[in-house]
Amino acid sequence: MIGESKYPILIAGASHACCMGVPLTVESGIGPLLRIDEHFDALVGTFPRDDAYWESTVQQAHGRDIVIVWRGNQHYGRFLLRETPPFDLVVPSHPQLPLEAGAVLVPFAAVKEFWRVTFIGLEDMLQRLASLGTCRAFVLGTPPPIRETTVIQAELEKHSHYFDIELKTAQLTPRRVFWKLWASIQLSMEEVAQKYNARFIPVPEHFKTEDEFLKSVYAQAIDYTHANSLYGTEMRHHLLKEIREGQLNASV
């Protein structure tokens, strides 16, 4: 497909697409598409997102611009709690960021390899979308971590008793390491996107603080791992500008 689609931009993804109007779950019989507004459609389905959801993404892709929001919480899911011994990494785009004292340095290339398994499904889907030749695929960057770890600590203490987890000895991963892990995920997604001729759209600078964490105005009050609806609304405006008004390469 060359040039602009006549259809609304399709957003497909899981929880990090919710703030942009993609429901996490819908009642049976609804879908696969739900109109968000005149410019955007949501691909809906069951949660957790399964192969059927992503198959549906490919099926709905013909003639469309598709924005894929792929996972986005890998750094929280694996590294919420500080490891013993602690580790740190050097991000190529920000090599001068300080390193945590006493941390074991892990090569950035090794961290990217660690994330690779989480992108297998994305690679498969992008490859299929590219082979269709009738759509433009975009991979959207996911929100950076929040700066204030006290919010995270408070939520942990609220929920930890359900899991019998001793928080006196548990420490959170330092926020700068969290950020570096997030950055490594963004870079990995960008490389995956480029590999299959899709365009990676990073989180714009105006969503971030000076030191590149998520601005508090875009953070949810309780769920520290996701951005809020204000973020989602503004992100849709950004996508519209980038995809429909910007000079982007077609996937075919």
Binding site: V90, V106, F108, I222
Partner: protein
């Protein structure tokens, strides 16, 4: 009566090689070669890595100061022997490379050609096969500093250093004499005849290197001992222009003489005859695989049997304890349990 009259049977070929050969008898050393309390550090060519599993299974303490972080043990391991030894220096083929390693780690030698900047990352010319190279010069420098600290820590802990001499042929920098583990351009980097040249180490140079290294080691460790071996593995290729067979025999001969000379000079050094066990005329043909270069499992077992028979040994075989996988799951599970209390998506993992 002449001296041969009173010589033991091991002094006679007919009585100890042509018949009654026992590899354990090749070696004579007062006291055990290794004691159970010894902390062992080793380095050397590919053959050197073979001894480590046997030592650990026999309950000896092998020093390791640079292992990958346990949380990343799910990814492919490093290439080319880097994870095999006490620190991630990989294969050390020559005496000059060994001396260079300890000097660089101490900050006493800083090669001018210390990095190759490529599209695939910033490559360490002295560890060119790393699977996970640095992606920026800053990362390169901090990872290298971490590596040097690990090397020094290994040497500090060392009671016994086992070194397997592998090669005499090497490639060096014309600028400052830095020695590369492989000819630039073979694994990574680019060969430049203006900067790189071939060199074949002599007996005296190897002895000088070993003396220099041991002096450096003694400045770090408390009363270390050295065990030298010579790798029986022939050369993959020679840059001498000679046939690879004659070049190999020459190289191994030089290494063997140098090992003997160093042990003669240094009371704390001992030579262990793994080369003779594998490559001597008494060795069975199956000690080498079909290519007549790769050493067989039977050969390694024979070497280790002879080696361990000269060590303090309770005869109990131990499987290495590794609770790292269990701990990794525990930490990941803790993170995953906590996160989905506010994010169900994390449950997908």
């Amino acid at each position: 009566m002449h001296p041969y009259k009173s010589a033991p049977s091991r002094s006679f070929w007919s009585r100890s090689v042509a018949s009654n050969f026992d590899a354990a008898q090749l070696f004579s050393f007062e006291g055990p070669l290794l004691r159970k309390r010894d902390r062992i550090v080793s380095a050397g060519s590919c053959f050197a890595a073979n001894i480590i599993p046997s030592l650990e299974r026999s309950g000896f303490k092998y020093v390791r100061t640079e292992e990958r972080h346990r949380i990343f043990r799910s990814i492919p391991i490093e290439n080319m022997g880097y994870p095999n030894f006490s620190a991630a220096y990989g294969n050390i083929y020559t005496s000059k490379q060994l001396l260079q390693l300890i000097k660089r780690s101490k900050g006493d030698f800083n090669p001018i050609e210390d990095r190759w900047i490529t599209e695939g990352g910033v490559i360490d010319p002295f560890r060119p096969g790393l699977r996970y190279p640095a992606m920026s010069e800053r990362e390169f420098e901090v990872l290298r500093a971490q590596h040097f600290n690990a090397v020094l820590e290994a040497f500090r802990q060392c009671d016994v250093f086992i070194f397997t001499l592998g090669l005499t042929e090497c490639w060096i920098s014309k600028v400052d004499g830095a020695i590369f583990p492989a000819c630039p351009g073979t694994i990574s980097g680019t060969f430049d005849s203006a900067k790189h040249e071939f060199y074949n180490l002599s007996v005296s140079e190897i002895v000088d290197d070993l003396v220099g290294f041991f002096s450096e080691l003694k400045s770090l460790a408390r009363s270390p001992r050295v065990i030298l071996t010579v790798s029986p593995v022939p050369l993959v290729a020679t840059a001498t222009g000679d046939h690879v067979l004659t070049a190999s025999i020459y190289s191994k001969s030089v290494l063997r003489v140098a090992a003997q000379e160093f042990c003669r000079l240094e009371p704390a050094a001992t030579y262990f005859p793994s080369y003779e066990i594998v490559a001597g005329p008494q060795a069975p043909s199956n000690y080498f695989n079909e290519d007549r270069r790769e050493v067989s499992t039977e050969a390694v077992e024979a070497v280790m049997a002879a080696f361990l028979s000269n060590c303090e040994n309770d005869g109990v075989c131990r499987e290495p304890q590794d609770d790292s996988n269990e701990r990794i799951m525990l930490e990941i599970e803790r993170s995953e349990l906590l996160t989905p209390s506010v994010c169900e998506e994390a449950m997908v993992e």
